[in-house]
């Protein structure tokens, strides 16, 4: 059974929480006691229908304000697959949360209010889906009930999206458009009975049918060592295994490998998962790899195939970055850079530009990058970083910056 991860995004009041509530409700993912709690909460608000948005608007503060202020994770499953929704806030200031929620997504679900049409947030969402290279975008035109389920209005909105999409869509990114009404359950899990003009699938069927090829398995083989296992027991006296999760590609027993950054070479003698001995392991699998010869390997070192001569090792590089902290990014400051599990110091040499995510324009001559801003920077690191270009290998192409003093995660970078 596979897992499809969805990031939802929308603007304030475009009905995102209601949409998710509706998906849960119609896939029978809500139990009776939760529905009862929902009924009484809806009544207290003076509503005569089930306010499905209350299912996901969890925190006290946001219930008071009536908006979502953080990333919430919601789960449902069908016999076909498990779904994880990262419900990211649609509030203007929260690009940070949107990037966070979308970072693991296979699908980005973007909501547009049929009455409002395309707004600034729509551009922001498409831009972020593009920055993170999310391979599939589903644009839901919601609240169709409030525009009399009008086909003309639907087409008008799609038409007005075109210039935006032509800027953000990358090769291989699939985009589909659905007219829906979350409130009345139109085109959510079953085809709408109000919009016969629409020939596409319901949202759930669209998600069920989406085949996300394991692109990570096809990328170059990368394995970062998390932990060295040395039991030193009688039975496993000389055992030395390198534990980690395969970031991308495939490793097989017998493969000749090289350790970065030391450059030592060896051969894989075994791949284990607990008591199982495997012949090969793929991207995403947590395994223990043993080598035929004694080499000096520590946490954060990367194993690559020995014949992969282009495997990266860099101390100077440029990256796109999204700033996540109240305290702005200043050039010249030293941060901790975490790439996978590898941690080292990094200095921001220069902010090259800032991206206007709404208009897709680039400004240069930038002195700082503030919370929620996206820009291009160049960096220098104390130790080599074994990262690929994000476009080529997303699993090995991102990093976070950590403030040495506050310990906060202050930025996320995508290697150029």
């Amino acid at each position: 059974m596979d897992i499809l991860r969805i990031a939802t995004a929308g603007s304030v009041d475009d009905g995102k929480s209601t949409l998710i509530g509706r998906l849960l409700y119609e896939t029978q993912s809500i139990t009776k006691d939760k529905i009862e709690a929902l009924e009484s909460a809806s009544k207290r608000k003076g509503l005569d229908f089930l306010d499905l948005s209350l299912l996901t608007d969890g925190l006290i503060a946001e219930r008071e304000q009536g908006i979502t202020i953080d990333v919430a994770h919601i789960y449902f499953s069908t016999p076909n697959r498990k779904y994880i929704i990262a419900d990211t806030p649609g509030h203007v200031e929260y690009t940070r949360n949107m990037v966070t929620g979308a970072s693991t997504a296979n699908v980005s679900l973007i909501l547009i209010d049929a009455r409002q049409g395309v707004v600034e947030q729509t551009a922001r969402h498409l831009s972020i889906a593009s920055l993170l290279r999310i391979p599939k975008v589903v644009v839901c035109i919601n609240k169709m009930d409030l525009v009399q389920y009008s086909e003309a209005r639907f087409n008008e909105i799609i038409e007005s999206l075109k210039p935006l999409i032509s800027n953000t869509q990358f090769e291989g990114q699939e985009i589909s458009y659905l007219p829906i009404s979350s409130l009345f359950g139109q085109n959510i899990t079953k085809k709408s009975d109000q919009m016969n003009w629409y020939t596409g699938e319901s949202l759930l069927n669209e998600l069920e049918a989406y085949e996300f090829a394991n692109q990570l398995s096809q990328a170059e083989s990368r394995f970062q060592v998390q932990w060295v296992i040395r039991p030193k027991t009688e039975e496993f006296h000389d055992y030395r295994g390198y534990a980690g999760k395969i970031a991308s590609g495939t490793f097989k027993v017998g493969d000749k490998i090289r350790v970065l950054p030391t450059g030592q070479e060896s051969t894989i003698s075994s791949i284990e998962k607990f008591q199982d001995k495997l012949e090969k392991a793929d991207a995403g699998e947590s395994v223990v790899i043993s080598l035929a010869t004694d080499v000096d390997i520590s946490r954060g070192n990367t194993l690559v195939l020995a014949n992969d001569l282009d495997a990266p090792q860099m101390k100077e590089f440029s990256a796109k970055i999204c700033w996540l902290d109240q305290q702005a990014l200043v050039p010249g400051k030293t941060y901790l850079l975490q790439h996978g599990v590898h941690l080292g110091k990094a200095k921001i040499s220069q902010i090259e530009s800032r991206l206007d995510v709404i208009n897709q324009t680039v400004e240069t001559d930038i002195q700082s990058l503030k919370l929620n801003e996206i820009g291009s920077i160049s960096l220098r690191t104390a130790q080599p970083v074994m990262a690929d270009a994000y476009e080529k290998n997303p699993a090995n192409g991102s990093f976070i910056l950590i403030d040495e003093f506050s310990n906060s995660t202050v930025g996320v970078g995508f290697l150029n």
Binding site: G58, H73, Y75, R230, G244, K245, S398
Partner: protein
């Protein structure tokens, strides 16, 4: 939806890979981690994952149990067996000691439980051993406030959680850096649902305490739920215990975990029951019913 039975026994294996990755990050990033063990199925799953993450090495951190004194005897028995079986170190600290030291006050009345009190003992234990990371079995599907919890959740000196101070978690990168006095709660099975846990227990052929399976027990009926009769339960005169066949879906204290009427004697039947269930898992936890925002409030105060 097609037949619910289609979902049975299908554990998404990728979840295990991710949880093992998190376990290894805890061992690598912290000096004194601990695994908080409650005896429930979720913490048993954590022990299994820890075992797998470091095999053939032993689990590089202790199991810590905060014993409220109101545990089911079957849970305590199982805890001791599991520690022995896995060779893990076991540390037990008692809520009774916190009460005796005057740090916590026993609740009174019909709904008295030690569930809130264990926070005091937990924080003292963290201080005593200077634990900088505590692994717990909370899942995001359990409850709304938990849906927003991070995998690495930073707590201040008082164990308090602040929704606005949580670090963004991007991709699979976990930032466990903390200041002196702070600690981190780690939730490796955040993305698992109750069904995932049961399917995993089944696929892995794991042992679990006998109270999860249908058995005969003396209970009372209260607020439409079944309560295990015990010396710790404050009963009204009209609450007369009777014997019936029940099992537990979730295992907390005897005073705050309700039983469900069930004949399910094996995992397959339990999983079928869950799929057909009308009441969500935490619906059987009286402590959440105190108010709609109960969990969030308790979390702010350092509850797990």
């Amino acid at each position: 939806m097609s037949n619910i039975n289609d979902k049975i026994g299908q554990f998404p294996r990728r979840l295990e890979d991710e949880s093992i990755y998190i376990m290894r990050e805890v061992a690598a990033q912290f000096e004194r981690p601990a695994l908080l063990f409650s005896g429930g199925k979720d913490s048993i799953t954590l022990v299994r994952l820890a075992q797998k993450a470091f095999y053939p090495g032993k689990i590089p951190f202790p199991l810590v149990h905060i014993d409220t004194g109101h545990n089911f005897p079957e849970t305590i028995e199982f805890r001791d067996w599991l520690a022995k079986e896995t060779g893990a170190d076991l540390i037990v600290r008692y809520v009774q000691d916190s009460i005796d030291q005057g740090k916590a006050k026993e609740e009174t009345g019909k709904y008295a439980s030690r569930n809130v009190l264990q926070t005091v003992t937990l924080l003292d234990t963290i201080e005593e051993f200077k634990f900088d990371a505590c692994i717990g079995g909370a899942r995001r599907d359990e409850e709304k406030a938990r849906a927003k919890e991070r995998i690495f959740s930073v707590r201040d000196d008082f164990g308090q959680w602040d929704a606005k101070r949580q670090r963004p978690e991007l991709f699979d990168m976990l930032n466990g850096r903390i200041a002196v006095g702070e600690n981190v709660r780690v939730f490796p099975i955040s993305n698992w649902t109750e069904l995932d846990v049961w399917n995993y227990i089944k696929e892995e052929k794991m042992e679990i305490p006998s109270i999860y399976f249908a058995h005969k027990r003396e209970v009372i009926e209260r607020d439409g739920m079944l309560w295990a009769d015990s010396e710790f339960l404050n009963k009204d005169a009209e609450e007369i215990p009777f014997e019936t066949t029940v099992r537990f879906r979730t295992v907390g204290d005897m005073t705050c975990t309700a039983a469900v009427s069930s004949e399910a004697a094996d995992l397959d039947t339990i999983i079928e029951e869950i799929l057909a269930a009308e009441i969500s898992e935490r619906g059987a936890r009286i402590d959440d019913k105190r108010s709609e925002a109960a969990m969030e409030k308790r979390k702010q105060q350092g509850y797990f």
